[in-house]
Amino acid sequence: MSAPLLRAEGLTAGYGAAPVLHDVDLDVVAGSITAVLGANGAGKTTLLRTLSGLLPATGGRVALDGRDLRGVRVEEMVRRGVAHVPEGRGVVTELTVDENLRLGGLWRRDRADARRALGEVYELFEPLARRRTFHGHQLSGGERQMLALGRALVGRPRLLLLDEPSLGLAPRVTAQIMRLLRTLRDRSGLTVLLVEQNVRGALAIADEAVVLSLGRVVTRGTSIDEDLRHAYLGF
């Protein structure tokens, strides 16, 4: 087994005085898809927000490729290769499709490759190419998810933190997105940490799964034990 791209040890974080995450350990292997599962309020979104630095950790450490991420500003994370697609998709609805995608590559020094990456995203998401001048608020839910994902890909990330990409989407669209994540992993070695409520969809593509309950990791592995499935995931 190769060394983990992302390693969190004893991660504790929360809002105000009450911690939401308690002592979370997590390893994400390079080139794999790791699904983070759990009920509402289990701390899944908080975990992603803490990993990308939006929420400061109150304890523990996070390292990317062995390099400590403590004290790294949120704006810096994208330069380290971490892309976080937040829940609710994070499309800037006042901007056009093209502007949203350009925004994903503005930080890059290699302008030519940023342009190339933008072209690739248009090839990957054909509906976006037809709606370049549409504003974010004119898009369907599925198109917005494509846009948020595409915008992250313009930055050619090594690690993609994806928060509930299936939220509010039709099953067919969700399945498309899951297939796409698998393709990206297989073709370009993208590492994905996927937070999902859609357990079946996530487990179908995940190499490993972590189950959170009340802010603690209750189980992890390549297959989820049937008892735990009943207890924490409800099926």
């Binding site: 990308s52 939006l54 949120v74 704006e75 810096e76 994370m77 994208v78 330069r79 892309a83 976080h84 937040p86 609710g88 994070g90 800037v92 609805t93 006042e94 901007l95 502007e99 350009r102 925004l103 994903g104 503005l106 930080w107 608020h137 915008r151 930055g155």
Partner: protein, 292 residues
């Protein structure tokens, strides 16, 4: 008819200045949801700096440049040193702090320069050209149109055609998402304040020669008219602020010309009330509710 034509041109010229000043208010509002009530006082402070330099060097244009540069500096300092640290939990906090800034700036200006009116020279003649016996525009009016037109065009290009403009817009609409995409949101806020204050300073330099002159309170009435212009246009709309400025300028000119100057401030407030009752979001504002 002659009088109507004269009042129209006069109104458009004043309106152009209100447009620039309203645009400066909108820039800050869009980026930070703060109405910068200190903008008038800030513009006066930079005008004092500009005219001091003009008096010392004998060059109007050097003073003009210093006033705009002082606007950039004052805007940057105001954001970095004061506004950044204001608790944003209630919108009233920022209003109170901005009004406090007004008192401080006006007090300091009074201490340094005194509270009497000082002359504010215009770089061009204010005598209107007459065409067929009708007074139309002065050279100074033409300068005002050109300066405001150039500023509006430059800002439009900045926001719609450049990467920095895209970063500024994204920071204003979605700060967290922008940070995740590597945008220095704090830096964009500072840049927004600096630009807005510079535009405010420019508007001050354009309007003061047409008023009674330099005085710590010289921009108070201009601020009220420009704020009305910004609200009438819809606080979120840059185009609306320009249109609102011209509308307020024309209204003031017609009311002053036909009904008397004392009625003019009331007309501005009536316009504000009518627009707020009819279209609470302003003429160019989008509806307040936004689908998430």
């Amino acid at each position: 008819m002659d009088r109507f034509v004269f009042l129209t041109f006069d109104g458009l010229s004043r309106g152009a200045v209100y447009a620039a000043f309203a645009l400066a208010l909108v820039l800050i509002w869009r980026a930070t949801r703060i109405v910068n009530f200190a903008q008038g006082a800030m513009a006066v402070a930079t005008a004092y700096a500009g005219y001091s330099v003009s008096a010392a060097t004998g060059s109007y244009w050097l003073g003009f440049g210093v006033a705009v540069l002082a606007g950039i500096v004052l805007g940057t300092v105001t954001e970095r040193v004061v506004m950044r640290f204001v608790d944003h939990s209630s919108p009233l906090n920022e209003v109170v702090v901005a009004l406090g800034l007004v008192l401080v700036i006006q007090g300091v200006l009074g201490m340094i320069y005194g509270n009497e009116f000082r002359p504010a020279a215009a770089p061009f003649s204010r005598d209107a050209f007459t065409v067929g016996g009708v007074a139309l525009l002065s050279r100074f009016d033409l300068f005002v149109f050109a300066a405001v037109g150039a500023v509006v065009a430059a800002l439009a290009l900045l926001f719609t055609r450049t990467d920095t403009g895209l970063r500024m817009r994204a920071s204003a609409f979605a700060p967290d998402v922008s940070r995740l995409l590597g945008v220095n949101v704090g830096g964009m806020l500072t840049l927004g304040w600096a630009l807005a204050a510079a535009v405010g300073s420019l508007a001050g330099m354009l309007v003061l020669p047409t008023e009674l002159g330099l005085h710590p309170n010289a921009m108070d009435i201009v601020f009220v008219s420009s704020f009305t212009a910004a609200v009438v246009g819809g606080l979120d709309s840059a185009v609306g602020s320009v249109v609102g400025g011209l509308v307020v300028g024309l209204l003031l000119s017609y009311v002053s010309g036909y009904l008397g100057a004392t009625v003019a401030p009331i007309a501005v407030l009536v316009l504000l009330v009518v627009v707020l009752l009819g279209r609470p979001g302003g003429l160019f504002g989008r509806s307040a509710a936004r689908a998430v």
